[in-house]
């Protein structure tokens, strides 16, 4: 029982980081029907921003965590904005395959560009101690342990997700985003500037991934190389598909299912871990091809 709950807790921590990344995939897909493969690398850039900015922020502000995460979100948001303008906008009315291949290209470019010695460099870097981990044993006979980093991961994710839900459901631009994702021509008849809405999705999604990158750095303490985004991005992408890509609550649900199943699987056997997690995904997608909360919609002509 203790072991079970402990893995559940670990899974929730992992799922929180996946959720922040998965939301960006799903928001962008919902609006432009593009799987932005470069999103994984934006997450990586967010993590590296933590590495470079934390010492500066510590000097300027004293406490480093909150200024660092905000700065990283601003920078990754800007990166997303530029990426859309330069790489995807020119292909807006071309075939979707062109945009998809461009996304792969942008991803490879970011990875390799960032690995240049005068950018982030290809080598291992230790993430700064933004938060010093402290174990907090939970009362009770089960021997459960959490730490302050876990609370931080879950807390930051939940706060950002609540803000996002508010943004999407209550603000005019949020309602515009949902309208655009449903029907672009009609949305433009409403006076909605589609370009602004698309740019917004490409700012908000990457900003969340940037926050995820900081949490990743704080949690795991090391940045192996600028390729570190690939695995995280892939799993978050699958989480978004699992929940129903294009559906925001679905991305969160998928991310937690992914995190929890991975935590359980790796606790059984660390090599089996991914395999079992992916098997669960395949199982769910066999039963519900459009994802847990996704609606299968025939393509509109």
């Amino acid at each position: 029982m203790g072991q079970f709950l402990q893995q559940l807790i670990n899974g929730i921590q992992l799922g929180s980081i996946y959720a922040l990344i998965a939301l960006g995939y799903t928001m962008v897909y919902g609006i432009v029907r593009l799987i932005n493969f470069a999103h994984a690398d934006i997450f990586m850039v967010g993590a590296y921003m933590g590495y470079f900015l934390a010492p500066v922020m510590a000097k300027v502000f004293g406490g480093a965590f909150i200024p660092t995460i905000i700065a990283a979100m601003l920078i990754t948001g800007l990166l997303g904005f530029i990426m859309e303008k330069l790489a995807y906008r020119p292909l807006r009315y071309k075939s979707r395959l062109s945009a998809l291949i461009t996304a792969l290209g942008v991803s490879l470019f970011l990875e390799n560009f960032c690995a240049l010695p005068f950018v982030f460099g290809p080598t291992f870097r230790k993430f700064p101690d933004l938060i010093v981990a402290k174990n907090i044993p939970l009362p009770g006979s089960l021997g459960l342990i959490i730490d302050n980093v876990l609370l931080l991961d879950v807390g930051v994710s939940v706060v950002l997700m609540v803000l996002l839900f508010w943004f999407v459901n209550k603000t005019l631009i949020g309602k515009q985003m949902r309208a655009v994702s449903f029907d672009k021509p009609t949305a433009s008849l409403m006076g909605i500037n589609i370009d602004v809405v698309i740019s917004t999705a490409f700012i908000v999604g990457p900003a969340l991934a940037g926050a995820g990158g900081i949490l990743f750095g704080v949690t795991y303490g090391s940045l192996n190389s600028p390729s570190l985004g690939i695995w995280w991005g892939l799993k978050a992408f699958i989480a978004a598909v699992l929940g129903g890509i294009g559906n925001i609550p679905g991305a969160v649900l998928g991310a937690y299912i992914m995190g929890i199943s991975e935590a359980f699987a790796t606790s059984v056997n660390s090599n089996l871990g991914y395999g079992i997690a992916f098997a669960i995904l395949i199982g769910i997608l066999l039963v519900r091809p459009s994802g847990l909360l996704g609606k299968f919609m025939p393509e509109k002509v």
């Binding site: 005019l172 309602k175 515009q176 949902r178 449903f182 021509p185 433009s188 409403m190 500037n193």
Partner: protein, 235 residues
């Protein structure tokens, strides 16, 4: 003249959907374009609202050339289109559909009075404002689509087949509302397969056949025209 369409051609790929179409709408009028399915009626409206681009010719609204203006700016300049097949945002609530329509409105203070007007025309929408609009009945969706157009409070409304798929009772109701909208001071360009109803409320009309305008005249003239009678009015 509020709207002047001059010699426009519109293509879908290589198919020429509109051929040298010219017509005009004066302020305060109800003008109907009638024609069979596929004649290019919707295409005409979409070209005006900017969703489709005219390959040649020009469209002048209120003295300004809007031929190449993007649709969201045309909506802000004063033209509302109620699209064919209702085109409501099925994932949004009734209220949110109305909110989103305000994207074209600069002065957000007018939102309250606009909405009161919409709800007084369509009390059903007020009852259902929290409902996801995709679950509304066909008639209610049509009311929402028209209500959303009215929310923008634009002087010129393009209505694309507002009677499509509605029961006879609802058709009566929706045409009554169009007349009411016109009485409130809005100019209406109406596209309809239901030629009889369309010509019964219009001041003037045009007949579109396979992409070309073949006839024009006052509504009464068109109603009495033997060709129109035969082709569109059931004898």
């Amino acid at each position: 003249m509020l709207l002047e369409v001059r010699n426009i051609d519109v293509f879908y790929g290589s198919i020429r959907a509109l051929k040298d179409v010219s017509f005009n709408v004066d302020k305060g009028e109800i003008v109907s374009i009638i024609g069979a399915n596929g004649a290019g009626k919707s295409t005409t409206l979409r070209a005006i609202s900017g969703i489709l681009r005219a390959a040649s010719g020009s469209i002048i609204y209120n003295g300004q050339d809007i031929t190449h203006t993007p649709p969201h700016l045309i909506a802000r300049m004063g033209i509302s289109q109620v699209p064919e097949g209702r085109g409501i945002f099925g994932n949004l609530t009734v209220q949110e559909n109305l909110d989103v329509a305000l994207s074209s409105v600069k002065d957000k203070k007018s939102a309250g009075p606009n909405q009161d007007k919409v709800f007084s025309l369509f009390p059903r929408l007020k009852e259902r404002r929290r409902q996801i609009s995709g679950t509304l009945s066909g008639g209610e969706q049509q009311m929402l689509a028209v209500g959303r157009g009215l929310m923008q409070n634009n002087p010129f409304m393009l209505l694309d087949e507002p009677s499509m798929g509605l029961s006879p009772v609802l058709v009566e109701e929706i045409f009554g509302i169009i007349v009411e909208i016109n009485r409130l001071g809005k100019t209406v360009l109406l596209v309809e397969q239901n030629a009889f109803k369309a010509l019964s409320i219009a001041n003037r009309g045009y007949v579109l056949e396979t992409g070309s305008l073949v006839l024009s005249g006052t509504a009464a003239e068109l109603r009495d025209n033997p060709d129109v009678k035969k082709a569109y009015l059931g004898g």
